[in-house]
Amino acid sequence: MVVVGSGLAGLTGAVVLARAGRKVLLVEQHYNLGGLATWFKRRGGHVFDVSLHGFPAGMKKTCRKYWSKEIADSIVRLDGIRFDNPQFRFDTEFTREDFVAKLQSVFGVEPAAIERFFAELARMDFYSDSGETVGELFERHFPGRNDVHRLLLEPISYANGSHLSDPAIAYGIVFGNFMASGVYTFSGGTDKLVKSMKAELERLGVHIRNRVQVDRILVERGRVRGVEAHGRVIACGAVLSNANLKATVERLVGREHFTSEYAESVAKVRLNNSSCQVYMGLREGESIPFVTDLLFTSTASRFDSLELCEMDTSSRTFSFYYPKTRPGLERYAIVASTNAHWSDWNLLSPAEYESRKALLVERTLESVEHYVPGVRGKIEHVEAATPRTFEFYVQSPEGTSFGTKFEGLKPSMTLHEQVRGLFHAGSVGIIMSGWLGAANYGVIAANKVDAWLHSLVEVEA
């Protein structure tokens, strides 16, 4: 069988299938594995992580079960998480207990109201979608408390692109995993993680091909036949696509292979927003004191999902990377991330594009200087990434950072009912995105692929 794409969903799907005894070929168009879970190096000894800002505690269990003890053991908790905006400013453990305590002590919310909110979230599951939005849910529990809404949604907006207008159900499912028991990171950096994963796949006999762009997924009489890359056909009994859902259906397979109802449902799936980042590397030998690990900052007086995505939003997260990120390497880096819209960036002329990037860099440097006085003089390398950058590197439509909105979940999960032997795994539906969501989705899809391959053998026998 063939896995198309080596994001965390593709990688984890591949490892599970290899363990189940399947013959797996993993093809990735980029020269690295990892998809958005990636890093890059710059002259001067700088290493930057793109999406290693933090993930939920559950990643440890997932890595322990499907990867290795070594990988799981490198997962460590962040020491510091801070909010700083005109409505509130404090450090948090990022645990349920601490959020409850802060809601009482800082926001003055009645314990009973907090209890009711958490109890309702705990009751939410996939099958109880009432059609309510996140904003409506918040308004019902904490009416007029924009500051509370900000606390409850802002971190999740950065983690998966959620808006106040998204379904409450997606929020409820994510909240329980995410804002519960701290934020975790991978000690050693993304490069170490991806290299360990690659070694594990090779040990299990997975064939890995980088720099191979799959152009088509071939379908014959409603069943997958293989993939086409570089004009060559690779025949196989099953394909697990880790390419974006819409790209899989519309670009790689082609609408004509689906019922019109399904094709229309995919056409209607909305993509999540993209991101901008500013990477700042400190000169060798320079250092900064510990500020915090993750800083959610904004100067916007009120929380507003749309403001978060504006081109000149003042709402950003800073990830501070100290020598502990890559033990043994005495280096410091800071990465600022904002949410962003493809449509704001894709039409700019080359000159406009450069000047907007320069503005983004300047605003970010001003902001970081406020938290770490004197840091500007220590920064040797600085560069920006925009929705165009993400689109270019992982070929996700509109550079989406977090896959699709909620409605993408169903077509993703039912793809194999349209084309037998074809499965999808990768960020969709808000709940299946982020490192943990993508990895777990890889496992869920691998189970389906394995069942399909099992049924093929039974039929032939």
């Binding site: 189940a20 079960k65 777990n440 496992v443 394995d450 069942a451 099992h454």
Partner: protein, 89 residues
């Protein structure tokens, strides 16, 4: 496989998924989830292991049948007939 063997087979699979759990006191008529920490991903692992070790295919709509050890025995008995127990793999 008889009842005892099926229970052994399931427990052995659970032990590989949750190596830190003590399974010796598991009651057969109480939901597994209420006795040890098993989430929906863990159930998926049980299903995958059943397929791998015994060639038994549990369709998604039947996952709920595996909620208790008694449920596992009732559901799996016909599928496990004539199969040999594989533990510690």
């Amino acid at each position: 496989m008889n009842r005892e063997e099926i229970i052994l087979a399931i427990k052995d699979i659970i032990q590989t998924i949750a190596p830190d759990e003590d399974l010796s006191e598991l009651k057969t008529d109480v939901r597994l989830r209420d006795q040890i920490e098993l989430d929906s991903m863990d159930f998926l692992d049980i299903v995958m292991e059943l397929r791998k070790r015994y060639g038994v295919q549990v369709p998604e709509e039947d996952y709920k049948e595996l909620a208790t050890l008694d449920g596992c025995v009732a559901y799996l008995a016909p599928h496990m007939q004539g199969k040999t127990l594989k533990v510690g793999v």
